[in-house]
Symmetry: C2
């Protein structure tokens, strides 16, 4: 049977994993999925995930692909893999795609959402999915800063210092800050993200929202192209990969 390429859409609660990428001694999303699919197909498979989400980061729409030459139909695959997966990971759909499809290289746009819970009482049933940060945040000044990020910029100030990719230029197509009851939600959509980019943007926006920094200082941070200018990194629990477009 010829090799087929399968595209998966995957959701997970990342709390109890050391991120997406397979690691030698830690439990990761990639390894958990590969083990389940390998068990099902009877041959070792390697999964290529579009986003290497960090430890504690969640996904409702991660995309990955793998190659396999067994007969399992994609319709049965979803159910069968889900039966093998723990409760906090699920395959939403599986489709056979042309061998030219590449989950990593063909990405056009990704959307991340970051959730900050602002009430003092610890939200015990949302604590895994938020940054619990009691106190007021000025959504108006945060939005002024978010607007500055839209377009093509060098986002080096918001990249983890260890990010060694050749270019730190990316295009942000959407960046909004909205209040919904006890939450402040930050949506960022771009053609690609540097390592820790959303969490560094959120951490810096919060410095503005709490009144410690001004939007004009935020403009200087973006221009500086130097991580040491930006604010502290926001915790992983508030971050969720929402959608990947191809």
């Amino acid at each position: 049977m010829p090799t087929r390429r399968i595209k998966l859409v995957i959701n997970y609660d990342g709390t109890d994993y050391f991120g997406w990428q397979r690691q030698r001694r830690q439990r990761t999303i990639q390894q958990t999925l590969e083990d389940a699919i390998t068990h099902l197909c009877g041959v070792p498979v390697e999964l290529f995930g579009s986003s290497r989400t960090d430890a504690g980061v969640h996904a409702l729409g991660q995309v990955a692909h793998f190659d396999v030459d067994t007969r399992v139909p994609t319709s049965n695959l979803v159910k069968a893999v889900n039966n093998l997966l723990p409760q906090d990971i699920t395959v939403v759909r599986a489709d056979e795609v042309p061998p030219t499809f590449d989950a990593i290289k063909n990405t056009k746009r990704k959307l991340y959402r970051y959730g900050i819970y602002t009430r003092p009482v610890r939200p015990v049933m949302d604590i895994r999915y938020c940054w619990h940060r009691p106190g007021k945040l000025n959504v108006e000044t945060m939005t002024q800063c978010a607007d500055m990020l839209i377009g093509t910029h060098d986002f080096k100030s918001f990249a983890n210092a260890s990010d060694k990719r050749a270019s730190s230029v990316r295009t942000i197509t959407k960046c909004t800050v909205t209040r919904e009851e006890n939450w402040v939600l930050i949506d960022v959509e771009a053609d690609g993200f540097l390592y820790n980019m959303v969490r560094n943007i959120v951490g810096t926006l919060v410095e503005v929202g709490r009144g410690r920094w001004t939007p004009s200082r935020f403009a200087d941070i973006l221009k500086a192209r130097d991580r040491s200018f930006a604010g502290p990194i926001a915790p992983p629990s508030g971050l969720c990969l929402m959608r990947i477009e191809y």
Copy 2:
């Protein structure tokens, strides 16, 4: 210093606990709270919780009391205890109450909510807080049955067979079944509950909602006063103690 009685309002995600009540070898909510308060007060305290929620059941409004003769002001107590508690338990408020107040005996009404998630895709970020039961449920017939429960009845059919309390007569003041997007929510308010009563009611309502049993059979089950007539027990994850009135 004279002994003071302190009333606590407590929220928790019960997933990782063997229920409220202290047990010899298992991690429980009561024990985790008692350990934190004992550590803080410097003297052993015993906590009296209004509801002995089962393993995996949640609470947004559990009430408990304890007696203590140390000086910790109640305003500081909340913050200090929360610093000692794990992320999935929190004390919402603490108030000094008259020594006649009893969290267990003075309960007037309790409200429980049960959540059923009905879409096929496993809700990874809600899986701890729902019964994931894909498929259609007829909210209209379920509501007909819920209406039958309102009032004072002998609920023996919905009590765990091991419940040896003298009387199984309780008064249900509210019982509603509502659809909200991908959820079916069942709210039950009563002056008291038998062991596993809400979960047995939900399990039986679902037999009606899926079309296996009729509302008239449901009426017979209530009349039978025999647990073997009712449906299977619903899983604990969907249940949350919402409010206790005094």
